[in-house]
Amino acid sequence: MADSKAKPGLLLDIRNLRIEATVYPPGEPPKNIVLVHDVSLTLEKGKVLGLIGESGAGKSTIGLSSMGYGRGGVRITGGEVILNGRDIMKGGKEGFRKLRGREVCYVAQSAAAAFNPAHRLMDQVVEATLLHGMATRTEAEKRAVALFKKLSLPNPETIGERFPHQVSGGQLQRVMTAMALCSEPDLIVFDEPTTALDVTTQIDVLAAIKDAIRDTGVAALYITHDLAVVAQVSDEIMVLRHGRLVECGDTRQIIKEPRQDYTRALVSVHEIEHAEEKPGATPFLSVKNITAAYGGGNVKVLRDISVEIYPGQTLAVVGESGSGKSTLARAITGLLPPVEGTVTFDGRPLANRLADRPKEDLRQLQMIYQMADVAMNPRQTVGTIIGRPLTFYFGLRGAERDNRVKELLEEIEMGQGFINRYPAELSGGQKQRVCIARALAGKPKLIICDEVTSALDPLVANGILKLLLNLQQIERVAYLFITHDIATVKSIADSIAVMYRGEVVRYGSKSKVLTPPFDDYTDLLLSSVPAMEIGWLEQAIGGRKMASAGH
């Protein structure tokens, strides 16, 4: 495309990019912070460069700079962004307008939030093409349908007539990729396109994106925090941390022979050794034939579930979104009283409804949430958050309470200095640690962990898992660990229940569940977890027994 006066081969050349933003911390004068420190990169035509790093590493900011865009008051203050042989920063507003949607397109993380719900998909897919006057409507729509086919969307001829809410998340993400490809750009910026998807869906979207990149010869910047994902699609990988370049090299070198410690940590992040414990004689919590439903019993989300948890051990519940894992937790805690079935705790039945349970039962059963941000009252200090269960269950007050809070803070490997902080003043990992301390404060026998690591960066998540395992050793607490991530399961579980559409399809000790022969769903789930291997994607797609639901 476009008026290419570039050196042959070189498409994008970012030199010494420096990006700044002004922050307004409460109670202090506004100050300037540098988000990206002098990062340089080059990208050839038809190649894919993976940008990887934890949140705040500046990867999205760098990606967006290739179209001269700074999100939310971010300013590009230094360096050059040379695309197709010209510095786009000198083009001004008019230049950006010509560039965006024509030479560079963007695929956002959450397609559901990025599409306008009031317009049909087709209108949105061809919009940029028409706006730049690159094709007539009929031509553009023809092109879009061809792209829908290539991205293996169902009913490619008619899917464009639907509204965004009428297709699933995985399909929407592929429609967005079609939208980016429709105007035949030179470069596409993929900003975590599969992060919000289930593993089983992620693999389809990933394969579709990879095929589309290969067939159209477009260059791409692929932004993600998952090294295993980026290893499947990119030719080169750039590792970023705190807005600085850590390491850059071709994919094989980065994942096989990382040179920097940080990259090494990223590569080996999933490896936690956890020896499986044999189930004891008697489970202390057993769930028998539970059926739960929403909407007054009409929509059954759990059918005939039976699982058991042994003291001091971990039961992992695995499955994709909509499989009923979180509903199982709600049924056990009494937030959603089951329609049928019983929960037995310590040999006696638990009341179905939360309101009917005595305080003692509530204390024994604590919960940790996925989003630590919203699981803590933003107007309470860490001291209050952790201290309240102490006062509530044990009647501790004053200095006694504070001492215990300090002990708990030490236990979760945070200092005593955090006692007067508000949740907003903590990092993501620290927030989740405080939530763990709050759950531990009641000295429970069982903690339900609902996707506790899925909102965190890999290295931070790793730290949380290690902490949970340590605490299990010290406090002999059992976990019901809900997750969609098989890798997490391997490193923490003693027994596993695989759930699919409200039923347990496979249940037993970890070694038993993870040993072949697998049933079709477990096979799909296991084979969909990206492995840190080049060429894994093709193997996985070729070898699976059942297609994913495409959620």
Binding site: P26, G27, T333, L335, L354, R357, K359, L362, R363, L365, Q366, M367, Y369, M371, V374, A375, M376, N377, P378, R379, Q380, T381, R388, P389, F392, Y422, P423, A424, E425, R438, G442
Partner: protein
């Protein structure tokens, strides 16, 4: 904590003016040059060095009447707003937390009250009941609490489904803790902004009632009643009626300047500080 230099100028103006009104109200008898009902001169005298704001329709000192009027106006408006907020917010939060028939019953009752125009409702009730300060405050407070109820219920419904409220329920906390410790601190921002607005509505409503003769009874007068007393002067080019009217406007603006500033300070979801 609070650095005066960092308060924005509009808020500073608001604070100074509001403080002036409040001080005038509190120390009224000490500041006022003359008594409330004391006739000191001719009818509608112009502004002079002796009588800064001139005299009113009976020859009373307008400045002194304004100061005594501030007392009554602020006193009634503050109490009525306090009543409407405590009533509306507590019922609204409870409705959100308890839900079910409690919520339905209360919400329909509020709908019923709101479907009758406030002024007409106020006029009817006040013409039946004995006209004294207590009834006035009660009527104004209860009528206004319907608005506060709607707002606080809407805000609390959103907060009630947050994970931290669920965590508190799982812990076994009672409704008291959930309403006052989990929901209230997080609902404060919209409530504070509403407070500024509602307080002004209370002042205006009181003035309207007094203007219509059902509010504060003579010889006491709030600012609305003073507009009424002096309104005939406008025909003769005498501005005495405009002075209490201007005072109402000034109070309205200055209180809202302060409320806006408080709102800005507290809405930042960056946390509990400030």
């Amino acid at each position: 904590m609070l650095d005066i230099k960092r308060i924005p100028i509009p808020a500073l103006i608001g604070i100074v003016l509001t403080a002036m009104f409040v001080l005038a109200a509190i120390f009224g008898p000490l500041i006022a040059p003359h008594g409330n009902g004391e006739i000191i001169g001719d009818v509608w005298e112009p502004m002079t060095a002796a009588h800064w704001l001139g005299t009113d329709n009976l020859g009373r000192d307008l400045l002194s009447r304004m100061i005594y009027g501030a007392r009554i106006t602020l006193f009634i408006a503050v109490l009525a707003t306090a009543l409407s907020f405590s009533l509306g917010a507590i019922l609204g939060f409870s409705a959100a937390v308890f839900g079910g028939w409690f919520d339905t019953l209360l919400s329909r009752l509020v709908d019923l009250l709101m479907s009758i125009p406030t002024l007409i409702m106020g006029l009817v009730v006040l013409s039946v009941l004995p006209s004294n300060l207590v009834t006035l405050i009660l009527v104004m407070g209860i009528l206004d609490s319907t608005r506060v109820y709607r707002l606080s219920r809407a805000v609390a419904v959103d907060i009630n489904v947050m994970d931290y409220v669920e965590a508190a329920k799982l812990r076994g906390e009672g409704s008291g803790w959930i309403i006052f410790r989990e929901i209230l601190p997080n609902a404060l921002s919209p409530l504070v902004s509403e407070l500024g607005l509602r307080f002004i509505y209370a002042v205006l409503f009181l003035s309207t009632l007094s203007f219509l003769g059902l509010g504060v009874q003579p010889p006491d007068a709030d600012w609305g009643a003073m507009v009424k007393e002096n309104k005939d002067g406008i025909v003769f080019g005498i501005g005495a009626a405009l002075i209490p009217a201007a005072a109402i406007a000034m109070l309205a603006i200055s209180v809202n300047l302060v409320a806006d500033w408080v709102l800005n300070r507290t809405t930042s979801l960056k946390g509990g500080r400030g």
